[in-house]
């Protein structure tokens, strides 16, 4: 199985503004050019170039057998991708929107995620499932789900969510090169986000499973990924500019939820002593629960306050006119930071806490 990745070009070329959508398209194109086993398929990915135009031009360049419009059936797309992977191809499929991946859930959970394990490594599933995901673009019902909790709870899947143009390219290349299935969550509202970037010499991105500290800080750590990364950075800047509280917030972009980079997160929280997990997906049984629990297990004696969570409400995603009330924004993040018990250091007098009784220690 090829794991070839594009080599940097010889002479440096200027960086120009590129959108995340363009970087993703470029990643697909480069992966297809480098490895004839990479096949892209899904609903409307061929002639149309995908409803978000990420696959634009691929069918023209590589022909309809390499970039293929399929019948409208998500289980069929994932199921045939499994078969193609069994024959040595490296399928990259698109689920048109987050909520439209659900009809393929059975294939994803029972086969994509388990085939390697079932066959003791004999049948790997080098399959990338691209999912335009999350809200904030005024989509009507079923077009704005954050479904990562389902994928995280499924052993055998990698779950990746880029937040920057450079990561979009680098992580998608890594996902396609991976011999394991990757659910690749593309934050819809970042498709049009821009950064200076050079497709000839794409920034190096470490492999899947490495978080990155996007902003250094000392007061508390914001832990986030995907669409909430820019929001957290904005919150961190806001509180600095604001000055009043004098918080210097560290922001960690997880990049991948599975594998989860405990080391980077734990090191940061040990330093800052406080943490808030931020994501768009509903809070209850969402990614934040796992992350907060894990941090607490690893960093309990370093914590000045419980790890808090700022998440979407525990409701079906709201209609377009109300979504701004649902999405975690700067204010809600800073409110949570404010609740990180800056005033008193309760932990110094554990005996005084009310309501405890019958302790054995």
């Amino acid at each position: 199985m090829s794991t070839a990745t594009r080599q940097p070009a010889a002479q440096p070329v200027d960086r120009k503004p590129a959108t995340m959508g363009q970087a993703l398209g470029r990643a697909l194109r480069d992966a297809m050019a480098d490895d004839p086993d990479v096949h892209v398929f899904g609903e409307d990915v061929g002639t149309l170039g995908g409803v978000f135009r990420v696959t634009d031009g691929l069918a023209a360049q590589f022909g309809p057998d390499r970039c293929t419009d399929t019948p409208l059936a998500e289980a069929g797309i994932l199921g045939t991708a499994v078969g193609m992977a069994m024959y040595g191809l490296r399928p990259v499929v698109e689920m048109q929107f987050d909520a439209f991946a659900y009809p393929g859930f059975e294939q994803l959970v029972s086969h994509v995620a388990r085939m390697r394990n079932r066959t003791r490594g004999r049948m790997p599933m080098p399959l990338t499932v691209r999912v335009p995901y999350g809200g904030g673009i005024g989509g009507v019902e079923h077009h704005s789900d954050s479904s990562e909790a389902y994928y995280m709870a499924t052993p055998g899947l990698h779950v990746v969510a880029p937040a920057t143009v450079a990561d979009a390219y680098g992580l998608l290349r890594a996902a396609i090169a991976s011999d394991d299935p990757v659910v690749f969550l593309e934050p819809k509202r970042l498709y049009w986000s821009k950064a200076d970037w050079n497709p000839q010499e794409p920034d190096a991105v470490p492999g899947i499973g490495k978080a990155v500290v996007r902003r250094r800080g000392s007061s508390a750590t914001l832990i986030t990924y995907g669409p909430s990364v820019p929001v957290c950075l904005e919150a961190a800047e806001a509180t600095r500019e604001d000055g009043a509280e004098g918080w210097d917030l560290e922001v960690i972009d997880l990049r991948s939820l599975v594998p989860f980079d405990e080391e980077t997160v734990a090191a940061s929280v040990r330093r800052t002593g406080r943490a808030v997990v931020v994501h768009e997906s509903p809070g209850f049984a969402g990614p934040g629960g796992e992350i907060a629990a894990r941090i607490t297990e690893r960093c309990f004696h370093h914590l000045e306050a419980p790890v808090l969570r700022v998440a979407g409400f525990d409701i079906p995603y709201p209609p377009p006119m109300l979504e701004q009330h649902h999405l975690p924004g700067v204010d809600r993040i800073l409110d949570a930071v404010a609740r990180l018990q800056w005033e008193s250091d309760y932990t110094e007098s554990p005996g005084s806490a009310e309501g405890r009784g019958g302790g054995v220690v």
């Binding site: 409307d44 409208l72 005024g138 989509g139 525990d314 006119m321 009330h325 649902h326 809600r332």
Partner: protein
Amino acid sequence: MSGVPRLPAPQPTHEEVLVMTVLEQPGAYAPAPPPSWRPRTDAGPLLPDTEPYRVLGTRAAGRREGSGPEAELLRRLYAAVVRGRRFNEQATALTRQGRLAVYPSSRGQEACQVAAALALREHDWLFPSYRDTLAAVARGLDPVEVLSLLRGDWHHGYDSPGTRVAPLCTPLATQLPHAVGLAHAARLKGDEVAALALVGDGGTSEGDFHEALNFAAVWQAPAVFLVQNNGFAISVPLAKQTAAPSLAHKAVGYGMPGRLVDGNDAVAVHEVLCEALDRARAGGGPTLVEAVTYRLEAHTNADDATRYRTDDEVEAWRAHDPVTLLEHELRGRGLLDEATVREAEEAAEQQAAKLRERMHQDPSLDPTQLFAHVYAEPTPQLRDQAARLRAELAAGEETR
């Protein structure tokens, strides 16, 4: 369900056992063939005709002049497609004015939309998809309520149990089993109710289409499935969607009749649906109807159809326009004077104007309603979250 006409007690559904389909064959090895071998159901009557059924402009229409379809129905259909066309235009205009989040127009498919609505009796149910706002409006629902999903103020705007129109369904084909379940429930209760479910050509590829039709046939549920084959699933043409002789040919595989009809011929669609719905209500089981039509506009206002189809193709279909076909027929039969035309157009314009006006008023929304209907009783966690949002909103009010 009160006021619903009652049927005689339903036939036992599962008792009258259909059996294995192997015929005895004369052969030398023969011990007596196993008792469960019986002659099969005859597939012939389930197969669709080789040509889509049409009435308008055919000799068939001519022949019918004496008996039916009567002038009254033709005029009703005509008025409805004229209103429907204008509704589609107005809704598309509202997207440009930022008053709809998105609009998937049924322009070109008005015959199907209107015929579907008019074929239903009072107690029947309609199961529309996102493209079928017009069918709901033609059934008499408030257009503003129907457009709620596409406006973005809520996921769904009208009273479904009251209007007997299920919510516009976005995940493709997923409404089909709902129609089957509802029709089956009505039959079990002895109510004379049929369910008409709409789906696109693309939607027929989904597993839910298959499962729904199979349940319907096995249960003999009074459900009718209308596939509006408009040639495309967004950019994907029918040829990449299926290799079948026609989508109506899928019916025989479930053991229900498949019917093929010209979807731009409102009279033909209406007739075929009425027949299927009558059969369904009478306990005769489900029918699959494929209406061949064409989506004249892009998939939605956000789509660029020039990426995947030629102007020529669109032009050719414009020449087969459902409104023109009906108008031509009426004129040819002397049923359309200028007054009737003017009347229809004015009614359409009035409906559109009223819609425009109402849609230009901002809906008043209470964000805390987001927590009200997740469950019958909000969980403690949801109550907390609602309280927090209320506090945020109050704080926002203050700083304003």
